[in-house]
Amino acid sequence: MNSMSSGVPSGGKPAAAAASAASGGMAALRALLRNRWIRALFRDPLTTAATLFLLAVVLGAAFAPWISPYDPYRGVISERLLDPGTPGHWLGTDEQGRDLFTRLLYGGRMTLLSAIIPIGAATAIGLTLGMIAGHFGGWMHTLIMRTLDIFYAFPAVLLAIGVSAALGQGMASSLIALGIVFIAPIARVAETTVRKVEAMEFVEAARAAGASHLTILRTQIFGNVISSVLAYSTTLLGVSVILASGLSFLGLGITPPTAEWGYMLNNLRNFIYTDPWIAIQPGVCIFLTAISFNLIGDALQAAREDGN
């Protein structure tokens, strides 16, 4: 009581600052929970489960060395292909006696990275191309969109296989291959949205006021296009996980002995007759991750439509 009323010059200020920071923090948290995008992630039990599962996969991948005591690359030969439920190896061990849970944690890193990075890159490139094509129109539009049509003409898996085969084995070529696959659809969504926005009065007004192309693109169009492109890009994450792991399943993506779900699944495929419960596990991870991304994509898409 005494210190609170008299100690103003010495301790009062930091205490008040801390208090206001704390209440500010609470307010920020409350605002975050009221945010419609965040709320969409928890809109129903299934979507909530998907969000929590992805959170667990991301945290597991990030903190794998601290979660598991095992080395993902060194196995014990006498402990090959132990069944799930074995004490110490609750998901069992693989063909080299490596702890499967550990391999799956580390594998999540590679699979997530090789699925998310191409989407990020393709979003940036597709957004730029789509905005240029949609805004400037004319021959620029024709050139960009007709070129992208060519990439549309390849089935996605085939294009990814072709490009990563051409670039050689390795994670980089898998990233580039998937990036190329996703540029065309993202650019199309961006272009369609730009043309819708361009027809609106505020863009007309900006143009009449003498704003430059760059200013219009930056201030009027970008903000409107980015949300629909991002919402669309999230819906592609599920496909990206499947394609990325599919490439390494074929031996085109990540090089051994790096743990990656698709590559692990292909390796363990040889043991379906003796150890089916071991063999299917990397596939379960790919499936659950993809379905979670798709559930979240659906939720975000619905939230965006409600917002408009």
């Binding site: 089935p155 898996v157 074929l250 089916p276 063999a279 299917i280 991304f293 659906d298």
Partner: protein, 315 residues
Amino acid sequence: MMAFLYKRILYVLPILFGVSLVAFSLIHIMPGDPVDSLLGPQATEEDRLRLVTALGLDLPLYEQYFRWLAGLFRFDFGISIARMQPVADLIGDAMANTVILASAAAAVAIVLGSVFGTIAAFFRNTWADRLFSILGLAGVSIPHFWIAIVLIILFGVVWQVLPTSGMYSYTGDRAFGDLLRHLLLPAIAAGAPTMGTMTRMVRVQVIQVLQEDHVQLLKAKGLSRLRVLAHVWKNALPAILTVLGLEMGHLFGGSILVETVFSWPGVGQLIYQSVSQRDIPMIQSGILLVSLIYVLVNLIVDVLHGLIDPRIRHT
């Protein structure tokens, strides 16, 4: 209608040209020398030169491209470097097998997807809707190479009721029944993602049409559910057809992964093997042909679209 047809074909031609250009150049940025891997370490410089000339690899790139393109029009796709057989023969056989698999997968996907999607839409927000919506979501999220393995484990290892590899039994007389038994599991695996897309798409389309005034009127007039369904489907068909055309790419492309798991002797498996053998003519023509079929299927879908819905012809 004819003008519409010409316009669609004119639109497709430059795309086909671009596709051939991409297929050709993809392979020329590939690392490693195909001639070296063909000849092995003991080959002399003369052997090397002779092979390079025979394959036309010493010509300038643009000349190689036009030679290749000109060959395509004569159904001459070159010689497979790894197998020393005409590419056209190899791809022809494999393509037939892939078409069998892809059509079966399409049939599975179309039938299940239409039924699931329609039921979900008609009984919107009931347990049936939730069940089939989740099935649709599972379909689009399932890696086909994994569902293939799960199917092999269930039907081949645990229950041992279906064959899990190849197209015919070794002892069999290549009977149709034998083919069907071999076809079932790969068709389900390759069709699962398209089944998922179809279910989701049909559900949304049917819900949309159900809300339109003329359907409300039909219902108010007391038409039976089945008759209403027929009307709804007629209106939803164009959009569904378009999605199906795009999905053909998935079916063909996805069969690459499914074919490798089931050892199905199709184009997918052929391309996959050729990639590891650096068999340039084989990969080039394989990728080109699959894309060509994809583009043509979409052209046909476009034209059908125009036949069903006259409004399309004038846009």
